[in-house]
Every structure is written in structure tokens, then in C-alpha cells.
């Protein structure tokens, strides 16, 4: 994985596979704490304790039909966070859903760039049009000023009525909204 947006795509895909109908994603930079954090919560099927701890093991996969019994998505993300003086936490309960939290030291030399998270969000929203997404991005600067961007597809869907969220003009709207929002709160560092 070359940037964090690819990890994010991967984690969202896990949630989507857990039969959830809402994925909440909070990503933010807190310069006062020198932190970059990711929180992804879904209301899917959840995991029991054993599966939860296995999920962090690269030699585990939940896909039984598979010949190669490996699953690198979560272990790679975890390793990347820990390599950057960060932390990684996964909580889950059967029937309720799963919460994943990863934190990176923001200016750590090994921290991967964020990458184009706007593309990750757009792909996930369009690619899983039956799932709702609540996206909150924040940036707290050194002088403690916080900038926030929120996108909630439930609001958009209710505004659209019978028009699908995958409608071409809606896709362009979403793309512009995400680009503007991310630019406004200066989440891109390059």
C-alpha cells in the first residue's frame, strides 16, 4: 500500500462485507497533539473475541473459500500505525458492529502520505450505494482552531428522493463537494 487512502479503502471494504448499512468515518489531524487519526465504525455483523484477535494476524482470513489462508489488510494497517509511534485498536461485538481506530504520529518520518481520500470516499459511496456513509474530517491547527467538514449520505439521499445516488450529476456533485471540503480544511499536506 502506497498511501493511507488505500488502507482506508481496504478497511471500508471489510465493513461493507460485514453487511452493515451505516459506516461512520472520522479522520483528522490534531497538530496540537501531533496526531493523525482514523476511526471507522460500522453497524455490521461484528466479530466474537476470537475472530477479533485473529483478524490482526496475517495468517488468518475470514474467507473460507480461499486457498491461500492469509489476510493482510488489517495487519498491514496496524503495522504502519505502530511503526509511526501510533496505536491501533479494534473493538467489536456480535450483532452490533465493529470499531477500528488507528493513530499515527503526524510528522513521523515513516508516516505514509494521506493520498487521495476523496477518491476513496467517492468509490465507496458509489460502489456501495446501498450503504450510508457519515464522513467527518477535521483539522486542529497549532493555535487550536478547528476546521471541520461533514458529509452524510443519508441527508443527500433524502434530498434526492427517487433519484439514485449513482446518478451521473450526483456523482459529480459528490466529487466536487468532497474536493472542496478537503481543500477547505487543508487536510491534504502536499
Amino acid at each position: 500500500m502506497q498511501d493511507l487512502s488505500l488502507h482506508l479503502t481496504d478497511i471500508i471494504e471489510n465493513s461493507a462485507r460485514a453487511n452493515c448499512d451505516l459506516i461512520s468515518i472520522v479522520i483528522g489531524i490534531d497538530e496540537t497533539q501531533n496526531k493523525l487519526s482514523f476511526e471507522i465504525i460500522d453497524n455490521g455483523v461484528g466479530m466474537d473475541e476470537e475472530t477479533l484477535s485473529s483478524a490482526q494476524n496475517p495468517f488468518y482470513t475470514s474467507k473460507f473459500e480461499r486457498q491461500k489462508k492469509i489476510g493482510l489488510g488489517i495487519p498491514l494497517f496496524k503495522e504502519n500505525a505502530e511503526r509511526c509511534n501510533g496505536s491501533f485498536l479494534m473493538e467489536s461485538s456480535i450483532g452490533k458492529g465493529t470499531r477500528l481506530y488507528a493513530e499515527f504520529e503526524h510528522n513521523h518520518i515513516d508516516r505514509m502520505p494521506l493520498g487521495s481520500i476523496e477518491d476513496t470516499f467517492l468509490s465507496s459511496i458509489i460502489g456501495h450505494s446501498d450503504i450510508n456513509f457519515f464522513i467527518k474530517l477535521f483539522h486542529i491547527s497549532q493555535n487550536k482552531k478547528e476546521k471541520v467538514f461533514i458529509l452524510d449520505t443519508r441527508e443527500i439521499k433524502s434530498e434526492l428522493g427517487d433519484i439514485p445516488i449513482t446518478w451521473p450529476d450526483v456523482v459529480i456533485y459528490l466529487k466536487d463537494t468532497l474536493n472542496e471540503g478537503i481543500k477547505k480544511i487543508e487536510l491534504e499536506e502536499f
Partner: protein, 120 residues
Amino acid sequence: MKTLADLKAIREKAQHEMKLRNSNVRIKVIVGMGTSGIAAGAKDVMKTFIDEVATRALIDVVVSQTGEKGLSSMEPVVDVIEEGKPRYCYGNINSEIAKRIVVEHIVNGNPVKEFLISTE
């Protein structure tokens, strides 16, 4: 800045278009978005399909994503499914090839043969 009011205008325009054109789903494009797919570039491929379908206003085409299907060595993998036709599975796709699939296969009905893995 985009607002929810812009959506209202989009909705009205879309409702009008829906009456004029058939917007039933004709073709489904499914991009494999498992860990190995993502590592091989599936995210850019997905983005290209979404962009191309939106800018060409192909209202009868739906782009979606799924997990891995066990073809890791041929990732990124894309399925093009059209009702009443075989399921076309493409492998080793990148953005350029994705654009060709949109133009040649989805718009003009000619599958891009050199990147087909299977037709079932």
C-alpha cells in the same frame, strides 16, 4: 461551495431526464476491491470507471465494488455484466484500459478482447 440546494436542482433535472430516457440498469461494472486488488491499483481503476460513466452521463450503467474473488495474480479484476449476455471478466486492468472498456465495450458493445480472462 456546494450545498444541498444544488441537489434539488440536480433532482429536478434528473427526474425530467428519467422520463425521456430509459434509466433502468443495463450494465453493471464490478471492480474487485480486495487487499491485493487495491495494492495492484484497483482504486484508480474504480475512480476511472466512476469518472467516465459520470462525465458521459451513462445513466443506465452502475459501477460497484466487491471483495476479492481469488484471482490475485491478475488484479485489478473487473466484471462487466449485461443482462442476457455472458459475464465478461477482465484482468490486469489499469486506468487506460478502463477507459477503453467504457468506450469500446460499454458504449459500443465490443469487448476489449486482449484483456479478457474469461467469458461465462
